[in-house]
């Protein structure tokens, strides 16, 4: 299979403008003749659905929650990047592009990343116009802060609730289109299959989560905006309902899955506390702007943090990375935390945590300033851990947070399946092997507000679409497949709950496909995960009502898929025998223990093709070419 990324010709800075001009347009009066299904209502989904509806397309927008406003984008805290350069500190579109491609360790496409940086400024304009109450200076201008891995202040924020405010902005635009009947909103509905007709994506099969009814929805194109697959690890900062089923169903219908091993482990999460734990809680890494990370110098030092004198503390990030200090990128911060914990210097009841200490900032700026900046995060921490972080250093530890991999898309955000578009975290396109802080919100909204409105028109104008009824054999086949899978799950009536299987999968993933990976571990994972999957299909027990609201049945279906995705993640990690960004292979590191890329061998996007349940997936490679940046070894020293 030849992967055509469809990157336009011409100088980098002119590609997107030229491409926009070259794309075919759908006449304003004809747009109402086309229909698009958007799956998911997070930043990517809500912005895509509202923007396409504003243009006049008929949009169906589907989500699993009771309201579009619940999508997990809402939980993003820290902020959103844009190249506005309001602080006059040397930022530019080029610098945002450069930082993003370097931060991603040169495993993303130059053209996509440059476009992202270009439209970043429009997102802030759009948000302000929507009435998003971004943080402001006393003079009334928008405030900026610096954020993990950046040496300029380019991050816009709304307290610690930036994701919430941006999502509610996109949601408000969406609801305006719902009121105009330009969007049909279908909530509490889960996509369980993709329907292809003549090789094109023409619809989806869903389960109504209230009545259990299996339904088909047909359209001229489908956009998947359903987020990432981080819950394959069981414990992650993703919401309980975050899942990869929609994207995985597309994979099984022929869409390629790209870079599945690229996962991001976020350095500032609240540590694990017990077996019953259902998820981990992230605290914005903006905390690293004012908090200092340290562990005791001595191994097994169990004194209370405030009893450990200054000269017995190891501020290891400041020590090892003098120029970036506590603000090194996420993967570097996470791996260093693992290092000191593995060295026996972890803190807290489990000894699997490091301190994040605000004492210096509180002395310098006053408690009030810290409260104003991070009050809600400190409150959240205190609620969970039952300690006051104004008085005692916080304990943090890395946790799975984001997945850079996802369905493969070309420059138009269309997958290899014609008519199947993929936006936001669900695609693989912009973050390479590591995503910089405050860039997820930027990408989701860039895709939805400013990319797909242009690129989908070209696809629709270039193709003709017969009307497809739900009696079509492709729909019937899909319904049968979905029903069959559910019936199988319900018929097993085994001994273990799906959560128990999920937890076991999570342990395998964290152990062998986690922060540091090696050949032996990955081979073990590739052996153990299919065994666990087999046991699941023989011994799971699922709460039995198919025709009623049944969260257990929903979860069982998603966990069945995670048991397949986990294996693909391990296979991809095994193939990529280099370290880059969030993917750290123990076999490939510098003398200083930093990630060592092998550009001659691995400067490609891996794109996996499903070949059947019992067959190995096929690997396709999209070579990455760099014409505008020089590939350097990342150094944050």
């Amino acid at each position: 299979m030849k992967l055509d990324s469809k990157i336009p010709e011409g100088p980098l800075a002119e590609k997107w403008d030229k491409h926009k001009f070259d794309l075919k347009l759908v006449n304003p009066a004809n747009k109402r003749k086309y229909s698009v299904i958007v799956v998911g209502t997070g930043l990517a989904g809500a912005s895509a659905a509202s923007s396409l509806a504003e243009l006049g397309y008929n949009v169906k927008n589907i989500c699993i929650q009771d309201s579009p406003r619940r999508a997990h984008s809402i939980a993003a805290q820290g902020g959103i990047n844009a190249a506005k350069n309001y602080p006059n500190d040397g930022d530019s579109i080029w610098r945002l592009f450069y930082d993003t491609i370097k931060g991603g360790d040169y495993r993303s496409r130059e053209a996509n990343v440059y476009r992202l940086a270009q439209v970043s400024n429009n997102i802030i304009d759009q948000g302000v116009a929507q009435g998003i109450p971004f943080a402001r200076e006393y003079g009334g201008l928008l405030d900026n802060r610096s954020f993990g891995g950046a040496q300029v202040s380019r991050t816009f924020y709304a307290r610690g609730q930036t994701g919430q405010q941006l999502l509610l902005g996109a949601y408000s635009s969406l609801m305006r289109q719902v009121a105009k009947k330009q969007v049909e909103l279908i909530t509490r509905s889960e996509m369980l299959d993709l329907i292809l007709v003549d090789g094109k994506a023409r619809g989806i099969t869903t389960r109504n989560l209230i009545t259990g009814e299996i339904e088909t929805h047909m359209a001229d194109a489908v956009a998947i905006c359903t987020g990432g697959y981080g819950n394959a690890y069981f414990l992650s900062t993703n919401a309980k309902n975050s899942n990869a089923t929609a994207a995985w169903r597309c994979y099984k219908r022929g869409a390629l899955f790209a870079n599945p091993c690229f996962t991001q482990i976020h350095p500032t999460c609240i540590p694990f506390s017990g077996e019953y734990q259902s998820k981990l809680t992230l605290m914005s890494e903006s905390l690293r702007n004012d908090g200092r990370v340290w562990v005791p110098k001595k191994q097994g030092d169990n004194r209370a943090p405030n009893d450990i004198p200054e000269d017995e503390r190891d501020y290891y990030l400041e020590e090892r990375y003098p120029s970036f200090g506590n603000l090194v990128p996420r993967d570097v911060a996470s791996r260093n935390a693992k290092d000191v914990v593995d060295d026996g210097r972890g803190v807290g009841p489990s000894n699997v945590a490091v301190y994040l200490d605000f004492a210096d900032s509180i002395n310098r700026l006053g408690e009030n300033v810290i409260r104003e900046k991070y009050g809600n995060l400190f409150d959240m921490y205190e609620r969970i851990i039952d300690e006051n972080p104004y008085k005692t250093p916080m304990m943090i530890y890395p946790a799975v947070h984001y997945t850079m991999g996802g369905l493969w898309v070309d420059y138009n955000l269309m997958s290899n399946v014609p008519g199947l578009f993929v936006l936001g975290e669900a695609n693989f396109s912009d973050h390479g092997a590591n995503r910089l802080g405050a860039s997820a919100l930027m990408q989701g909204l860039a895709d939805g507000y400013f990319v797909i409105p242009y690129t989908i028109g070209d696809y629709l104008a270039s193709n003709s679409f017969d009307k497809i009824e739900s009696s079509h054999e492709a729909c019937q086949e899909s319904i049968a497949l979905v029903n069959d899978k559910m019936d199988k799950l319900l018929a097993i009536k085994g001994e273990k709950t799906s959560t128990e299987f999920h937890r076991e999968l999570g342990k395998l993933m964290w152990e062998y496909v986690g922060m540091a990976r090696d050949e032996a571990g990955l081979k073990k994972a590739i052996k153990e995960i299919p065994k666990l999957r087999e046991e699941f299909w023989q011994n799971v027990t699922v709460s039995s009502d198919k025709d009623l609201m049944n969260k257990d049945l929903e979860f069982a279906g998603r966990i069945a898929d995670f048991l397949e995705i986990g294996e693909l993640m391990a296979r991809d990690a095994l193939d990529r025998n280099e370290s880059c960004g969030g993917h750290f292979r123990l076999e490939s590191q510098t003398d200083e223990g930093e990630a060592k890329r092998k550009d001659d061998e691995y400067a490609y996007v891996s794109a996996w093709e499903y070949k059947g349940d019992d067959k190995k997936p096929a690997l396709h490679k999209e070579e990455l070419t760099f014409e505008n940046v020089e590939l350097t070894q990342r150094s944050y020293k």
């Binding site: 997990h72 939980a75 759009q126 609801m175 017990g274 409150d379």
Partner: protein, 251 residues
């Protein structure tokens, strides 16, 4: 603290049309570090193993921001902790041997779908009636073109931090959605971007709130007391002024 054994009296209701009732369950080995919802997970794991139907309750982010969780715990929406959503409530606030009564939100405009899960789409329809600025993607001016006083932006943010959970409705003796509706009207009324549609917005959102079957506000302030985001009822006062202006003065 040693692990706790608790008795839960939980509202079970098969679907929207069936009558519901309380059913008692015992949960053992509850750690003080568990969140309330993790304790509910333990119960559901037990039920699955016994081949019984799980207790349905809405939840998602478990970080207090998505607004999905919605339990009335011992008569109080989101439980006894001030400024805390159900998912952020921890079992260390309870004692061994406690009997805990768990109900869904109760309001005519929030019909029960199953057990502890209710239909809150009425909130979406209130937003649909005017909780937006009419701006299309691509049409916005530069974000620094209009200055906004910091104090206005901060107060707008106080209102905008509403998570749409509906605890305000569940706590109100009138089942009024005033705090929810006011928070959105107030956010826009405070910002320059909200000015052009100010009157229309107030009139239409209040009308939709009535149409959905929510009651009016009679100043009990129960909503403010249970709001996990501690949104102030001064926003309701602003909504009343906005509504009055919209009714008395022409567009």
């Amino acid at each position: 603290m040693a692990d706790m054994t608790l008795t839960l009296k939980i509202w079970r209701q098969k679907d929207r049309k069936s009558p519901g009732k309380f059913v008692s369950y015992t949960v053992e080995n509850v750690s003080e570090h568990m969140s309330f919802l993790e304790m509910m997970d333990v119960l559901n794991e037990q039920l699955i193993k016994k081949g019984e139907d799980v207790v349905e309750f809405d939840n998602d982010c478990r970080e207090g921001i998505c607004g999905m969780c919605s339990l009335v715990i011992n008569g109080r929406p989101h439980g006894q902790e001030h400024g805390t959503a159900t998912c952020q409530l921890h079992m260390r606030k309870f004692n061994d041997g406690d009997i805990i009564v768990i109900e869904p939100w109760r309001a005519a405009a929030f019909p029960v779908l199953k057990d502890l899960t209710v239909d809150r789409t009425a909130f979406d329809r209130i937003i649909e009636a005017g909780g937006y600025t009419s701006i299309n993607a691509g049409g916005a001016a530069d974000s620094s073109a209009i200055l906004v006083p910091k104090s206005d932006a901060e107060e707008a943010m106080d209102a905008a931090s509403c998570i749409g959970c509906g605890a305000c409705v569940a706590a109100c003796p009138n089942a009024s959605a005033s705090l929810f509706t006011a928070a959105k009207i107030s956010q826009f009324a405070l910002l320059p971007q909200g000015q052009t549609e100010r009157k229309r917005r107030a009139a239409n959102m209040v009308a939709q709130m009535d149409a959905e079957g929510f009651g009016d506000c009679s100043n009990h302030a129960e909503c403010e007391a249970v709001c996990p985001k501690e949104i102030s009822i001064t926003h309701i006062a602003r909504m009343k002024r906005e509504y009055f202006k919209a009714m008395v003065f022409d567009e």
